[in-house]
Symmetry: C2
Subunit: 417 residues, 2 copies
Amino acid sequence: MLNTRLKSWITVNDDSDFSIHNLPFGIYSDDTVAHRVCSAIGEYIIDLFELESFDLLNMNRSVFEEQYLNSFIELGKKETNRVREKLTELLTDENSVLKSNTDFFNKVFKKQKDVKMLMPVKVGDYTDFYSSIDHATNIGTMIRDPKNALMPNWKHLPVGYHGRASSICVSGHSFHRPKGQQKPPDSETPVFGATKSLDIELETAFIIGKKTEMGDSISTDNADDHIFGMVLFNDWSARDIQTWEYVPLGPFLAKNFASTISPWVVTLEALEPFRVKGYDQSPPLLPYLQYKGDKNLDIKLQVYLKPEGGKEEKVIESNYKYMYYTMEQQLAHHTVNGCNMNVGDMLASGTISGPLASEYGSFMELTWRGSKPIKLQDGTERKFINDNDTVILRGYCEQNGTRIGFGDCAATVLPAK
Amino acid sequence: MLNTRLKSWITVNDDSDFSIHNLPFGIYSDDTVAHRVCSAIGEYIIDLFELESFDLLNMNRSVFEEQYLNSFIELGKKETNRVREKLTELLTDENSVLKSNTDFFNKVFKKQKDVKMLMPVKVGDYTDFYSSIDHATNIGTMIRDPKNALMPNWKHLPVGYHGRASSICVSGHSFHRPKGQQKPPDSETPVFGATKSLDIELETAFIIGKKTEMGDSISTDNADDHIFGMVLFNDWSARDIQTWEYVPLGPFLAKNFASTISPWVVTLEALEPFRVKGYDQSPPLLPYLQYKGDKNLDIKLQVYLKPEGGKEEKVIESNYKYMYYTMEQQLAHHTVNGCNMNVGDMLASGTISGPLASEYGSFMELTWRGSKPIKLQDGTERKFINDNDTVILRGYCEQNGTRIGFGDCAATVLPAK
């Protein structure tokens, strides 16, 4: 449970993602600095390099001047948790030097609206899972057979596949509608052109915080030691390209043109108070996938769509708790064969759908392959995502009116080049 | 055609991979240096950092002291080709300072047997294609239907999928037999254990030499500007794990435990004299996949197996020229949707099989899923790879008795942990 008596001397609005309980990590830049490690509280970012000019954290501050969080994360949880604990102390102590020294305050704190958030980590390898049972059931029902919607392996292992790391971008990075081969049902041969069914996938991803060597496996018991934190993840997908290309080796060009993540890495420690019981998994899993305790998470997830020049409106509301497999199981599975992990590797959940139609985490499901378009407030319809639409993923945990969240995960689709 | 009159004052045996026409790039270490960029001729490696102490190449030699070739490659083909040309000049000039100055010679040249070759590049993203028609036909025949062995998309695009970069190792790196879920045909539920069908895949891979930004595409005409060179690639595969896990999103744990590459990157320029006409592609491809000129390559490929304590023997003999799609087509396809490429990205061919049974590039095909074991000289049989077997891939181009090759791509399978 959150210790909701903990209050910062910095004002934090009730609807802010950045309460004193969050203190996520990210990388920012502005007119004066190219890249700095920062945390966030309320409307502010906290420049950790400047903070450490006072030697409050008692560490080599050069790690806060790097382009990515990787070196900081590599220091280990003992160190990164110590930084969060020191921040908590400084931000709750009414007599803190940070509060009393105005010059110091002005150096360390900057308004979030005045800085640009950069890609938080250098991603080595990126994996995408397929671990929401409602999503897998919806897709299987649509493209195969409602009676055999889930493949025989689905309830025995968290199905996953490798994705492209190079095109993972931080929130705010627009991209052009991708082109590629499609084979329309009425065509004998494939055609080439811009995708006509650009979709989103509402996902989260976790970031590896501790490396392993080839041959090592991570147990479900030890997995949390290797998970630094989480981000929101939009796995943009071109459905017409995917349908034609994906047999027999999986999605490729339908996905690797762009993925968007939120800029703030929320630590697993910040998320701990929001643990909930996991999905009831039956048939029972092989021992290496079994786990103890409450390992699911209650994270409210939302998707907003903003047409060009229009207002944003909520189109999807889901929750991380609908996941069938936990992150701990995904990581145990990924490494059971000795596959090695590096700090900064990103493992995404797969589309997170809930049981209700309003909780479906992709337009493919929401509009049932385009057969039931959704109507927006401006009167237009959407089967999939239009040019110049902006899609914003949001996510947060809440207890007694206090939030911790990820910040916006937003990107605008530009017309095909 | 090779200019076979070109001779080095260093003795190069006829069966050496490292004639004056090759001059590949790699990274070595020994007792005195942690990592250095080097080239090779005959039995020697050429330490480019030491060579540049004489300022013969007129460049900042710090790039030769890095852990990987990436920074060197990033200098661009103009520079990297200039280095090869200067090396050619120094190694053919009988009056070269390299030859006349014994101290200098001893600093620059080291016997290959006395050094350890390291991973040549830091791989950002790794992609594996499936571009050999004989291989795809064999697999399709075995696991589906001989009459519809190729999926409908196969002759319209080079099917590919993303793989794991972290577990790509240089020749000489042993690994443990992977464990994982399998579902034997006679079992109701999956079982857990070491793979019983560990296979190899005889492949090559090319390395990206020039980056692109998201949204950019590379045409077949421009592809060669972006291809730095090639390596041999053994895409180790656990067939029982693969069969159970791969639907619907492709291979995952069956492949990401280990891949082995040869230590020397043979430049595309060295390979140019060995270009041959490409596969006759019918039906015709969409315009973005069409190309001009001879873009296939005549590279002899071999697989040797060495049982523990036994002698190595050749078990497969194939050729890169059997590829249906060229590297230029693979790269054009990979980027047609705007997927960005980084220097060091690795794109593998997929198993390269020829039409003859002796040319099948995997044991899955060679022993037809284990139904026709091969007999080794020591009297033992192999359906797949045994513990403590060493598998060595070799590859070379040859004209008029002069070779350029890749060096050994070898790894030993240790028992499961």
